[in-house]
Each structure stands twice: as structure tokens, then as C-alpha cells.
Symmetry: C2
Subunit: 555 residues, 2 copies
């Protein structure tokens, strides 16, 4: 049996921004007792995962070792950190720890799936200790774009690890605790073995700006507006929602929250006491009685999501409210790369309605929730760890962050999902590579990303489909002619005859000439029918569709 060691294993979040899931372990190799930090989702797109509802990390490795798992700790309530918890909890069945606001959100998710009330334990911030096997864990407050975001201070016999969570260094975050450099320095003064650190904004060269800075600009914009004002941001950015609501209130506007997430987040923030003085809101129904220029709508859908309130308002009405010429629509948000098309679609629809759109291109109405490059340097130097391990980033972010740390004198390693690091020594060492990947929530079923199901859907979308049915009698003679149906294919091809007729004719000719051996062999027959159909389609319409063949034999 080997020497006891401290390990770190990202199962998600190291190789993408999204679906965070980080395992820590301590013990003899293969017998480490484990904790899990965060269990999040990422979102599907039409390019790579059409029809999929949510994307999770493949948690097989941990599920197979659930007997070694002590607890789950959730750093904050963003979907990419907590969104998969309810999906996998039934296979893990260990206590979950989170601070009040995060716990409130996590509990709602677990309750929806019928899990017991006491699954999530509400933790207090530092210095409260939570014991989990060989670990002692504390929640160390840090500023981000959601209330009560926390770093985790994870003590083990091999030393202290600081897991940053998502963070920025904000002295005035409007809602929640400011970054407290003195507390951080105190926590770290006796030496930190490893800092596992958010990498999202490593490419942003200037220091981050405070949440407080956007208030005056938003207030000025809203005070000058004449028609209805509608603003969107992430609902979980409670500080921003508060800033927007207060700007509306000061301009004499009644505030309306639109979209399920918007109402739920504010509710959670009020319930847990992190939000104490939010302006009174009116319901969409009551808003109908208020003059348009006295209304301020705060809506979901800052990323152009098709079903969110912003998209619905851009298309037509939403809950009786409608935007019109001279209204103002504010994106108090940044478009996440990949979401541009959806956001631009909304802006153009609003333009067609004569609505004036203000986005963040001026930099006035939004600040990021993540630490920029100089902020990362500052955190490194506050924590002064023996090693910096970048997490929460695509490969390019992890690589740049790792290089930054090394250039400034810290040991570092670029560990993507599945890379198990031994953090026990003076430098991080790769202990093992573990198979990882993605799983999909597809309707109500969890499927593997590599099962071929979604690949088939992409092929259908790119190539269209021909369905062929033939019937053979007891002597393997065709009964009637082959029957074709098309899906997603042009009706007419180069012969200027319906494609379906040309296909049926060609397949019929083949069947008439086919020898008895082929006709008796389902596989051979299917292959030949498919090959002929694809060849005919190529000649007629210039593409090779997918083909489904049904051979029925009458006995």
C-alpha cells in the first residue's frame, strides 16, 4: 500500500467554462476518502447537441466510488456549479453543504425530485468548520456575481488547499460580502499547499471593476428614458437586479419581475436574508393599469434564450405586456461566446418594433463577475500557495493561467478533466488519467455523449432521411413495389420527376434483378437498397441522405 496522498481530480470544468465538478481525496492510493466540490451543468447547442436538454459531466468514476465519498460542497448557486446536483444525488447519497442562499436554491432542486429536506445542510461562513472524513472544510466568502459565493478552505493532513470557486475581488459588491484581503491573508498566513483557481478572465488585461460602478450609469440611463424601460441580466445576479430596480424606483417607475428565474432568485435572496431592501414590485397583471412611462421591467433571457421573457417580448407580447416605439431595452449583461446569434436576433426584433436597445459595448452597464489577469496575480500573491492549479476554463484559459503562475514563481500544472493530480509534494504530479466525458439529459433520459444518439440526429439534420419499405413473400419474392418516404429532402431532383418516384423506380429495378441469395439475406438486401438509394439521391439532388430500410417478410 502506497503512502497517503492528497489528490485533485476535475471531472468537469477543467476544459470548458461550465459543468464544474472537482474531486479532492486524501488517503492511500486507490483508497482516498473523497469530497466533491460543485456539480454543475452546461448548456446544449444546435451545433453539437441538438435536442438535448442539459449537459452534465460524466460522473461514472465518482458513482463507482460513492462508498468513498464523504460529502458534496457547493461554492455558489450558479447552474454550472449546482445544476446537476439533483440529477446525481440519488447515486451519491452523501450530505451536501452550502451557505444559506446556495442551500435554498439547491434544496428547491432536490425537492423537485422528491429527495428529503435534510439533504442540504446550511453552512455558515468562516470560521465554521465542516468535517468530512480526513478533511476539514470552511466556506470563505468571496465576491462574485451571485450572493454568498465562497471559496473553500480545505484542510487535510497534507496541508491546506484553497479552492477559489468563481470569484472577483470586489470591495463594494452591492449585495453580499466584499472581498476581504485581510481575512484572506490571515487564512493563508500559515502556508497553503495549493490554490485551485478560477481562470475565466485570464485574458482580460485590466483589473476588474466593482459592481458598485454600474449603478450611476444605469440610473442616468433610466432617468432619461421616456417610454417603458425593460432591462435584462442574469436573474442570479441579485446585486445587479437590485441596482436596476432601484434605478427604476428613483425614476418613479414601478418594477415588474418577468420570468420564472427572476422571481425565484429574488425570492430566495429575500428568504435567506441576503437581500433586505428590494423595491416593491407589481405583478404583470397590475402593470397593465400603470402608464408605460412609469414601468420598469426586469426580465430573464440576457443570453437570447428563445423561451425566456426577453425573447418573447421581442417577438410579441409576454404576460399582457408589449414593447413599442420609443421604449428602451437594456442588456445589463455580456453575451457569452456562442450566444451571439440569439442575442442579435432579439436586438433586430426590438429594432423592428422601434425599441432603442442599449447593450454593454460602452462598458457602462455591466461588469464581469470573474477576476481579471491582474486580480488573479493579486490572489496568487495573497494566498502565496506552493502551487497554483487553474480550473474553470477552456484549455486556452487553463494554459494561459498556468503559464502566468509559473512565470511568477509558482509551481503549476495544466490539469484538464480526468487528470488526477497528486498535490502532496512540492510540485503537482500527474497520478493517473481517468476516463471522463459528458452525459446528456435528453427528455427524461440520461444518455452518454458518445452513445451515437445525438450524432444520428446531427446526421438527420445535415443529410435528411429516406425511409424504404419492402415486403417479401415466403419465396423471398417482392410483394408489390418498394415504398419510399422522404424527410427533410427536396421533392424534385435533376430528372424533373419527384425524387420519391425516381427512388422507387431504381429500387424496384434492383429488386427485379436481385438474385435469390441476396433476397434471402436481410443484411445484404438492406445494404444494397441503402447504397442504391444514396446513389440515386446523389445524382438527383446532390446529396447522400440517411436511409432507414424496413424489410417485412410475410410467412
Amino acid at each position: 500500500m502506497g503512502k497517503e496522498r492528497l489528490i485533485y481530480l476535475p471531472l468537469g470544468g477543467a476544459g470548458e467554462i461550465g459543468m464544474n465538478a472537482y474531486v479532492y481525496g486524501y488517503g492511500a492510493p486507490g483508497k482516498e476518502r473523497l469530497i466533491l466540490v460543485d456539480l454543475g451543468v452546461t448548456f446544449p447547442d444546435m451545433d453539437g447537441s441538438p435536442g438535448v436538454d442539459l449537459i452534465f459531466p460524466d460522473m461514472s468514476w465518482l458513482i463507482e466510488r460513492a462508498d468513498r465519498l464523504e460529502a458534496v460542497f457547493v461554492t455558489h448557486a450558479h447552474e454550472d456549479h449546482v445544476g446537476a446536483l439533483a440529477q446525481f444525488w440519488g447515486e451519491l447519497r452523501v450530505p451536501v453543504h452550502a451557505r444559506a442562499f446556495t442551500a435554498n436554491i439547491a434544496r428547491r432542486k432536490l425537492e423537485e425530485r422528491g429527495y428529503p429536506d435534510d439533504t442540504v445542510t446550511t453552512a455558515s461562513a468562516w470560521p465554521e468548520q465542516i468535517k468530512a472524513g480526513p478533511f476539514v472544510v470552511r466556506f470563505l466568502p468571496v465576491s462574485h456575481s451571485i450572493p454568498e459565493s465562497s471559496a473553500l478552505v480545505i484542510d487535510s493532513p497534507a496541508g491546506r488547499v484553497v479552492h477559489s470557486g468563481d470569484f472577483k475581488l470586489d470591495p463594494t459588491p452591492v449585495v453580499g460580502e466584499p472581498f476581504d484581503p485581510d481575512l484572506w491573508a490571515e487564512v493563508c498566513e500559515n502556508g497553503v499547499q495549493a490554490l485551485i483557481c478560477d481562470s475565466t478572465n485570464v485574458f482580460t488585461p485590466h483589473p476588474g471593476r466593482s459592481e458598485l460602478e454600474v449603478g450611476p450609469a444605469i440610473e442616468k440611463l433610466v432617468s432619461k428614458a421616456r417610454g417603458l424601460v425593460c432591462a435584462t441580466t442574469f436573474a442570479s445576479n441579485v446585486a445587479r437586479v437590485k441596482t436596476l430596480a432601484e434605478a427604476g424606483q428613483r425614476a418613479g417607475r414601478s418594477v415588474v419581475l418577468l420570468g420564472r428565474a427572476m422571481r425565484r432568485m429574488i425570492e430566495a435572496a429575500v428568504e435567506t436574508g441576503v437581500l433586505t431592501d428590494f423595491p416593491k414590485t407589481v405583478s404583470p397583471e397590475d402593470a397593465g393599469d400603470i402608464p408605460r412611462d412609469n414601468l420598469m421591467l426586469l426580465v430573464t433571457g440576457s443570453q437570447g434564450e428563445r423561451r425566456a421573457a426577453s425573447a418573447q417580448l421581442a417577438r410579441s407580447k409576454y404576460r399582457g405586456l408589449e414593447l413599442a416605439e420609443g421604449d428602451l431595452f437594456l442588456f445589463s449583461s455580456k453575451t457569452i461566446p456562442g450566444n451571439e446569434r440569439g442575442v442579435i436576433r432579439i436586438i433586430n426584433q426590438l429594432s423592428e418594433k422601434g425599441v432603442d436597445v442599449v447593450d454593454d459595448s460602452s462598458g457602462l452597464y455591466h461588469v464581469s463577475g470573474h477576476a481579471n489577469r491582474p486580480d488573479l496575480e493579486r490572489l496568487h500573491d495573497t494566498v502565496k500557495p506552493r502551487m497554483v492549479i487553474p480550473m474553470h476554463g477552456e484549455h486556452r484559459h487553463l494554459r494561459a493561467h498556468s503559464n502566468l503562475a509559473r512565470d511568477r514563481g509558482y509551481a503549476s500544472a495544466l490539469a484538464v478533466n480526468g487528470t488526477m493530480l497528486d498535490l502532496s509534494g512540492n510540485t503537482p504530479k500527474v497520478a493517473e488519467y481517468v476516463e471522463t466525458g459528458r452525459s446528456y439529459l435528453d427528455g427524461s433520459v440520461r444518455i452518454g455523449a458518445l452513445d451515437g444518439i445525438v450524432r444520428d440526429r446531427i446526421r438527420l439534420a445535415l443529410n435528411g432521411l429516406i425511409t424504404i419499405s419492402i415486403i417479401l413473400d415466403e419465396e423471398n419474392e417482392p410483394l408489390g413495389e418498394p415504398w419510399c418516404e422522404l424527410k427533410g429532402l427536396p421533392e424534385m431532383g435533376s430528372s424533373a420527376a419527384p425524387l420519391v418516384d425516381v427512388l422507387e423506380e431504381d429500387l424496384d429495378q434492383f429488386l427485379r434483378r436481385a438474385n435469390s441469395k441476396t433476397l434471402a439475406d436481410d443484411d445484404a438486401l438492406e445494404n444494397d437498397l441503402r447504397r442504391i438509394a444514396r446513389q440515386t439521391a446523389l445524382e438527383e439532388i446532390g446529396r447522400k441522405p440517411e436511409v432507414t430500410v424496413t424489410i417485412s417478410r410475410i410467412q
Copy 2:
């Protein structure tokens, strides 16, 4: 018969950036003689047009009036201005006019489809006149990101129209003519009825920068590089390709052009004399004999296109060349909104190889080819038209540009595709709304965007497919059991039995109980089978798939 009038009708390009196609006409209403300016494509995406090869404007309106069309004028050789010419020329059959470089590119496209050599007439720049019915047209040079881009000066009995084409105001464009403010003022001094003007960069607040400015920064970057250097930009940006090649040459590197478009564009520029002193290049094969740190690759695929040289180099090898740790990859380009995912994929793949990627986030290595807001103001005031009609933009661009013009004292109108304007008076007036849209090149077939073909493909991708086959005998009794096939669907559902078995069982039960009237009626039977299959799927896998039903009746 009404009074003669001057009309403007965008069929593409006014409502999107892409697929430009602008009609001008002069004559009595409904009898105007017409000219067409540009005939371009736009590019499909997985979200809205999966499987489609190219997107064209719907040219039906013009094709139905081809007898009134005098000529086509092409402002420059970008695909969104010339890419659909060959596709539609057979239905228009009128002379095409373009300057030498543009004509070279257009001719290659027409020749590929077997159209005669003399289809395209090479035009000289201002003051050469081209007569086309009631119009006299001249090519007025303007700077852009491709050689010999031109505005068109279109004279009619109702006055002079200046159609800007795509443009920027560049005094030092490296290749091609600088913007000549004196010539422009002279052209416009006797009064311009209307300026039809590029809107792409109306949201960019600062004046545009010259192509010449990027040279020193690129040269510095390349001179410091140690490994192989690879740079990508639009191949048609001949000036940029030259700047990059020269930076390589000065650093003692041999230049390799990779990607078909890269070689073709440089060839066209040399053939037509717009490019006279391009550094000598070596073939990819010969590059194998040259030390890596003496190589400079100039490659296609700046927008992350999956099949372009950049994507292939990021994935693995391309034509024997391979990138490695310590190499430099430069995006001397801006990512067009919507292409972010593809570009980021490449950057991450390069990061995995240890290649250092430099993009344009610093603003040092790329300048835009379009006029920014202050440049638009300058052009308006140089041309001093009676009216400014924004073109080449999404709705938001056209609206902002139109507001800008009006705020500064010009009459204006926001005319999206299909809006026919009468430009004859003091202000633009809507004369008519014409039905427009998009057509797709789908394999070798041209289909309509609203034909339902692509919609079906999107549904297949989002929902998956169940194929049902049943056979009925002469008495309408089922012969054997129903047969199902799945495409793009999970194999197992909530019953923990194969979905296909559960479906077949439910459908079989239905068939056993179905009354003789239903069994005799194909439509009723199909509807019932579809409904049951969808309901079963919903219970089993939480989604309602597409369903294809084949009912075979044995006679």
C-alpha cells in the same frame, strides 16, 4: 400610365449583412428598366439552415421581370456580393460589368457552370461610362478589404445616385486605390439625389484605421517568433495577405499559401495587375525541407470553418505540415458574430498542441474594411445627397444609420428587403412592398427557405424519429406485428425495457382493438399510430419524436 420615376429595391442585404442584391429602375411605374447591383450569398448555420450549402436572396421578382433588366454591376469580389451570380445568371442573361479583379473572380465562377467567356465585361474606373438602358453607370474607386472595390455612380433622368458599395475611408490601403476625397467631392459637386450607403459599422464610434497601420505590429510580432508562424485572414484581403507575407519575408521566412481561396485570390490579384510585388512563395511540399523557424504559413479559415486549412492544422496535419509546441498562430482577423464557437474550438485545439495564439483582442493585428460612424458622417457630407438610404446591414444597423442621417439633416428611409422606394422626389417614398425571402442551395437543388424541407430537418434533429411499418391483408387485418425503427432516440426508457419493444407492444395492442373502419382508412390509421407512438415515447423518454408511418396493404 404614371409619371416616370427612379426606384430602389433591395432584394437582399437590407436586413442582414450578406447576400447583397439591389435593384434600381427608371421608367413609368411597372415598366421601369432595371439594373441589378451585386448578387451575393450568405452562409448557412446549424441553428437555422442545417445541411444547406449556400443561401441566396429569392430572386423571383427580378427573374419574372428579366426582360426589363439591362445589366448587372458588381461592386467587388466578396462572396456576399458576387457569390450568387453564377447561380442566377442563366435566368437573367444580361451583361455583367465589373472591374478587372472582380471580373476575374466572377468569370471563374461563371466558367465553372459553363457560361460563355464574354458574360462579364471588364470596366475601367471613373470616368469610363457604361450605358444600361436609361442609366449611365461609372465605377468610382473606394477603399475596402479587397482590391478594386468600387462605389457606383448611377445617373438617371431623375438625377445621380451614389451606391457606396462596401467601403472604408482609407488613405493608405496598401493594395488598391486610396479613398480620394477630392475626386468624390468633384463627382458629387453638381448634386446627388440619393446616397445608398453601407451600414455595417454604424455602431463603431471611433474613426476607422488604415490598413497600413497593422504592418508594423505584425512585423514586430513575426520578427520575435521562434517556431513556425501561421497566420490567417480572409484570402480576399489581398493587402493583408501581402502585409503578412512581407513580414514573413523580412524575418527570413519562406511563405507558404495554404487553402484553395488563398492561392486563388493571390493568383487573381497578380493576373489582373493589382498585386505586383508579392514575396515569392514555396509549395507545401517544398516547405518540408525548410526549417520550421524559417516558415510562414498564410492560411484560410479565419472564421473557424471546419474544412479550411486553419481548422485542419488545429486538428492534425494539413498537406504534410503540422503545428507544434512553441509555434505561433495569428488571427489577423475579426470573428464575425455567430462564428465564435468555431474560432474558439480552433484556439483550444491549438492550445492543446502548445501553440501560442494571438488574436485581435489587442486591436493591433486587424482593421475593419467598413466605415465607422464618423466615417459615415464624413461620406454623407462629402456626397451631400438629398437623401441617405442605408443598406448592407441588419435591421438594427439600418435603423441606427437612418437615424444618424436624419439627425444630421438628410432625408432618409429605412428600407428592408422588399421595400421599393421611389427616389425621384425630395424625400424617399415607399412605392410598393415586394415579396422577398431566401432560397437555399441544397446539394445540387435550389429550394425555398419556407418549403418546409429544412424545418423538417431541424425537427428531426431536435426530436428524433420513429419509423412505423405495418402490413394489412385484403380484409384489413394486420399481418404480423407493427415494426418500429428509431433514429436519434435513446434505446431504453422509463420501463427499463427497449423503447422499440414498448412502442411495438403499444401499437400492436391498438391494432388488435382497432375497429374495421379505422383499419380501412389509411389517414385515420396513420394518425392513430402516430399519436400512440408519440404518447408512449413521451412516457418512456420524455419527448415526442417525429413519426413516419408506412402502411402496406397486400392485395
